[in-house]
């Protein structure tokens, strides 16, 4: 049997290098990890908050509304699904164990009706045989919501595009009844195909349409990962069903009739399936966490735990960051004509005095002054946002701070956001609007309408950098795990990461990142690549093994504005752990446009694992010219799509498709797939490169402002087809947060 395993690669990305490299005292690290560890425990043990002190005003998912999740991590009983759905955007992490199987599930409510789930299953195959590892992917669509008389109806496909071991389809209907003494009772009935028809299967009624429905073609594993459309809803069909009774908001008792025969586990003698009836109970510890205890198939105890979080519900609500400096209101001109005098314009010392004053009010806000031009009536302030995840908050803080530093006659503030030395967006705000709107009931909307937001691109790069730090260092702890290796469930290296960044001129950055592993168990596996392509990624483990320092990055980068709506980047040096070379990129992103286009060209040579500077030899002696044309589209409904077409590291040609749900607080949950001219067989395990990624902004977790975000990618073991070089600070992520529509989408933070 194919034993597939996964590698989870954990990447830290920062939305801007500047934010990442902002000097961060190592002393905080220990405290932070404590906070994190306790945060996790706290999340699990968090008591139910006094439920919505004012009724249901809060958007926190209500305890009673959260559906019970099955052993498969999606709404259900134990092994059988129900037709329920989680709250929109719920992200559920769960682990379920009984008898021979342990399932780890990650389910996401992609939209109010669509649920997607990723699963990793470990199955005991009996004495003398290695455990089996399998991953699977489910899609569930709720066709009908529950009505007064109508049940909810859902159709689901389990193990969509996997190895087929779990493969099943179902149609389920669920109706709930509640009464004051009854509590809540949910009745579910369903029809299953595939594995869900392995017990009590009957002839497929869909056979009336075509006899093809009556037989299910044998699964063709191949390299796994390919979609087996010819199996869907084919073969025998079986009925399943069950009851769930919740006497109160916290307890649920369940009973189900399972149509899953667990044939292989029974054959392997690891499961004694004495009954088709499973029973269980689950308890909601909090609004997020459940635990459940079950008795499965008349012979085994089962245990399940889940934790549900929702990107729309930050733990700290709108944040606990210190409040802004209040607007300082100017006295009326008639009341203090002396203050409104503009003779200072002619004074040669004015510039220096104002720079000091503006620096003094911006620095406490984490805003670095890059450039300042003041006339009698207007001020143009270019700044680098080093603190706020939402650019609108940086603009709002800067505007209020400027009221405390600039002479009363200066009425117009032009605030220019600068990323890596590139002026991106300029926001023009009238000072009298700030004074008028600070406490106006509808000030968020009014201030957005009155601000003029435009491309700052006709200016050259900032001429100088008044306050921006020229040289910054950072020391951080890092933990770099790879999960699900069959030899070692958690492979990791952990230690210290040293970073340095030097900016000789605006728009130029010399950047280095060195990782020193202190503890590592990566020697516990010695997988050797069987790839028929150049080993551009499949020997990735070689780059993480050993306790010698790893130079992850040493580059010189230049960022520039070639013209209006255009952004440019050239990066040269050791671009990433496995490749060195030159990378160039141009991005077209007009202000307010949902569409952006880009081109990238890279010339790289592979690096030698275990060496700081040497280029690769032997199997690592690979060089490549790669490049992509990219289209990005930010849909109004919160989804973001990206298509990259071009040439990959193994000199294969193809395209990468990315679709992500993006939240205005910086969260992203998405998936990507790459198809190239490498055949599925040549690609090897998994057939093509694909993965799921989750980006979590640190500010969401802590309630404190930060531009740092963490992206976790869950992907099958890395292969050599469809691989791209990793470069820091690609332009789209750097630029879009500053420009409309994203800037306006978070304008609610302007007055934070």
């Amino acid at each position: 049997m194919i034993s597939q395993f996964l590698q989870v690669s954990w990447g830290y990305i920062c939305k801007t290098g500047a934010a990442c490299f902002a000097a961060s005292p190592a002393a905080r690290l220990g405290a932070l990890s404590l906070v994190c560890a306790s945060g996790l425990l706290g999340l699990l043990s968090q008591p139910v908050s006094a439920q919505d002190r004012a009724g249901t005003l809060s958007d926190q998912a209500r305890l009673a509304d959260r559906p019970h999740l099955s052993f498969f991590g999606t709404p259900g009983l134990m092994d059988m699904p129900t037709a329920g759905a989680m709250a929109d955007a719920d992200l559920a992490l769960s682990a379920a164990y009984f008898g021979p199987t342990t399932r780890t599930n990650l389910a996401f409510q992609v939209s109010p009706r669509l649920t997607a789930a990723f699963r990793y299953v470990r199955t005991d195959r009996g004495p003398g045989r290695r455990d089996d590892f399998d991953r699977s992917f489910d899609l569930i669509y709720q066709i009908a919501r529950e009505g007064t008389y109508r049940p909810a109806v859902a159709v689901g496909i389990r193990d969509f595009g996997g190895t087929g071991l779990q493969s099943a389809e179902y149609l389920a209907a669920t109706k709930s009844f509640s009464g004051p003494r009854l509590g809540n009772v949910q009745v579910t009935a369903g029809l299953g195909w595939g594995r869900l028809a392995s017990q009590g299967g009957q002839r497929n009624p869909l056979g009336v349409f075509s006899s093809a429905f009556e037989t299910r073609p044998a699964a063709d594993f191949g390299q796994g990962g390919s979609f087996e459309f010819d199996q869907l809803f084919r073969g025998d069909v079986a009925a399943f069903g069950g009851l769930a009774w919740s006497p109160n908001d916290r307890w649920t008792m369940m009973l189900e009739y399972s149509s899953d025969a667990y044939s292989r586990a029974v054959d392997d003698n690891v499961l004694d399936r004495r009954s088709s009836v499973n029973v269980g109970t689950s308890y909601k510890l909090s609004e997020a966490a459940d635990v459940g205890l079950y008795y499965m198939y008349g012979s085994e105890l089962g245990f399940r735990i889940n934790y549900v979080l929702n990107p729309k519900v930050p733990p700290a609500a709108s944040g606990v960051e210190p409040g802004p400096q209040p607007v300082m209101v100017r006295p009326a001109r008639a009341a203090a004509p002396g203050l409104w005098d503009t003779a200072w314009v002619a004074n040669p010392q004015t510039q220096g005095v104002l720079e000091t004053a503006v620096l003094g009010v911006l620095s406490p806000e984490g805003l670095a002054l890059e450039d300042l031009t003041v006339t009698a009536t207007s001020a143009r302030v270019a700044l680098r946002n080093q603190r706020f995840g939402q650019s609108a908050q940086a603009v709002g803080r800067a505007a209020r701070a400027l009221t405390r530093a600039l002479p009363p006659s200066v009425e117009t503030f032009v605030i220019v956001l600068v990323e890596q030395g590139m002026p991106t967006t300029q926001v023009t705000i009238q000072r009298s609007d700030l004074e008028e709107l600070e406490f106006a009931p509808d000030n968020a909307w009014q201030s957005y309408v009155r601000a003029r937001i435009e491309d700052a691109g006709d200016q050259r790069n900032a001429r100088r950098s008044i306050a921006a730090p020229k040289l910054t260092f950072s020391v951080t702890g890092y933990f770099n795990p790879s999960l699900f290796d069959p030899n070692e469930p958690v492979l990791y290296d952990a230690g210290l990461r040293f970073g340095a960044r030097y900016e000789p001129l605006p728009g130029w950055a010399l950047q280095a990142s060195l990782r020193q592993p202190l503890v590592s168990n990566r020697d516990n596996t010695n997988r050797v690549s069987n790839s028929v392509l150049p080993f551009v990624r499949s020997e990735e483990d070689d780059y993480n093994r050993g306790n010698d320092p790893k130079l992850d990055e040493l580059t010189l980068a230049h960022y520039f504005r070639p013209g209006r709506n255009l952004y440019g980047r050239v990066t040269a040096g050791y671009l990433e752990t496995a490749f060195a070379g030159v990378s160039g990129e141009i991005l077209w992103k007009p202000q307010g446009s949902r569409l952006a286009l880009g081109v990238e060209l890279n010339a790289v040579h592979q690096r030698q694992p275990g060496a700081l500077f040497e280029l690769g030899e032997g199997v690592y002696d690979n060089d490549a010219i790669t490049g992509h044309a990219s289209a990005y589209y930010d849909f109004e409904n919160g989804f973001r799509a990206q298509v990259d077409v071009g040439r990959y590291l193994a000199e294969d040609w193809g395209g990468t498709f990315t679709l992500a749900r993006e939240f205005d607080n910086g969260w992203e949950v998405g998936a990507y797939a790459t198809f190239t001219d490498v055949s599925f067989d040549d690609f090897g395990e998994g057939s093509f490169d694909k993965g799921i990624f989750i980006t979590i902004p640190l500010s969401w977790t802590l309630g404190q402002p930060s531009r740092a975000a963490r992206t976790s990618v869950i992907q099958p073991i890395l292969r050599d087809g469809g691989a791209r070089v990793e470069v820091s600070d690609r332009l789209y992520d750097l630029v879009r947060q500053d420009s409309d529509p994203q800037l306006g989408d978070s304008w609610g933070r302007f007055w934070r």
């Binding site: 994190c36 977790t701 802590l702």
Partner: protein, 251 residues
């Protein structure tokens, strides 16, 4: 199940926990604003609302209860405070006593009729000069703005009508969008009442504003006005998560 087998499964669950830690977004060092120098007298009890992440220490021991205002704001301390000073207490379990979540606020700025008060150098609350809450910052589910036109008229000396008064609180939801919470209220004059504060006893008249949320929950705001139509003490609702605060004008 053998012990080894169990250990293997536990390690598997370890993987789940690690994934969880990633999902919770931990592991990155962050930079935090160093407080700007301030000349404001600082005093406070426990925080009003922290992110719901717990603290490790609290799992093992119960922290000592934070001091009450009476313990901190002794007559000697109060004698030293000569500038305007607010004592703000958050309601816990339906009561303001004993005061555990409280803070002292001093003036940080003024814009027209609205005065912004700051606790230490960080969290702020803004009130009209009469004392009606306009905004909070730094407490979690802050109120961004309030719209209380009908109440403002009554406090300025208008008659407390029997008609319905609208109150709107604008909050920021988890996706940085403004979420307007409308309350329908009835404002009534409750006559004379005596208010006892740490700085003295005041003769006031009590105005009560009883509001219903869209969900049907009742919220009562109370305002004790002195002879100058200044709110000496008030109980005001902030947001669903923060609940009500009691505001006492000590200086």
């Amino acid at each position: 199940m053998t012990a080894m087998n169990l250990f293997g499964r536990l390690r598997h669950l370890g993987a789940v926990l690690i994934l969880g830690s990633v999902l919770s977004g931990c592991g990155e060092v962050y930079s935090y604003r160093s407080p700007a120098p301030g000349d404001v007298p600082v005093a406070s009890g426990a925080v009003a609302q922290r992110p719901s992440l717990g603290s490790l220490g609290s799992l093992f021991r119960r922290p000592p209860p934070p001091p009450t205002p009476e313990q901190v704001l002794t007559p000697q301390v109060l004698a030293g405070i000569t500038t305007p000073y607010l004592l703000v207490t958050f309601e816990t379990n339906g009561s303001f006593e004993p005061a555990r979540n409280w803070g002292g606020f001093a003036i940080a700025g003024q814009n027209g009729d609205v005065v912004t008060w700051v606790e230490g150098t960080a969290r702020t609350m803004s009130f009209t000069q009469a004392g009606v809450l306009r905004a909070t910052r730094g407490f979690g589910r802050d109120v961004m703005t309030t719209d209380t036109r009908a109440l403002d008229r009554v406090i300025a000396g208008g008659a407390a009508g029997q008609s319905q008064a609208l109150r709107v609180h604008r909050l920021l939801n988890g996706e940085n969008k403004i979420q307007a919470v409308g309350l329908v209220c009835r404002i009534s004059n409750r006559g004379p009442a005596t208010v006892r504060l740490l700085t003295g006893t005041f003769a006031t008249r009590l105005i009560e504003e009883a509001c219903l949320t869209g969900a049907g929950t009742e919220i009562i705001n109370r305002f004790w006005l002195d002879q100058n139509n200044q709110i000496r003490q008030s109980e005001q609702w902030v947001s669903p998560e923060l609940g009500r605060i009691r505001v006492q004008r000590l200086r």
